[in-house]
Chain length 138, copies 2
Amino acid sequence: MSSDAALEEGTSLSLDYDKLSKIAAADQHVVPVVLQHAETGDVLYIAYANEQALRATLEKREAVLWSTSRNELWHKGATSGDVLELVDVRVNCEQNSLLYRVRPTGAGACHTQDASGTARMSCFYRTIIDADTLQPAG
Amino acid sequence: MSSDAALEEGTSLSLDYDKLSKIAAADQHVVPVVLQHAETGDVLYIAYANEQALRATLEKREAVLWSTSRNELWHKGATSGDVLELVDVRVNCEQNSLLYRVRPTGAGACHTQDASGTARMSCFYRTIIDADTLQPAG
């Protein structure tokens, strides 16, 4: 397997505990965002938003994030058509994280595909069974 | 209102876009964690975990986080008794975030209280209606 395939489809846990340091080193002023399917309640993924992304989300009524890897605004599904329609944006008590409640319009929200070649709805498709090992979520 | 009360109970949006920089500056190696009520699907809050917190969660079968403000292990509910029993821990495709699916055993998971003095189950009790303004989530 390529390193991406091992990370995304493998059964070994290899968590990246340095991503937040990289975000800070790149001087990105963002908060974490949980994206949740408003109808099923499924947690789709965690992403990041800065002020520009939040404003764009509220204006377009579709999920807009800040891509911390590409360092640019990320209008989810703008290319593929699989946008996430916005139901609402919520903020936590301490105002340091966001919840985007969304309605997916396409096949899935994750960039990976299951064994049948279908885009996965959620990025959380594996369960950690011990500190080293993953299995498909039941 | 005190500044905490304004932040937690007010209707002005004042997001802390610098928390992740502070985490990195304190040399904390953590990933963001979504805590989700396994039965209702409600997103309770976002917290952080390092390797020690993840191992403790898997061993105790209760949610254990890393407190980025106190810089110590945070066994949720250890003092109050309102622990979050673990259903499972999931990891995302890129292995840089976690989802703890939990069963709350107490009144709520948020440290704030609603107008009747009851602990709120979720920290996401306010909706952002424009870039400056909040209202109670419907």
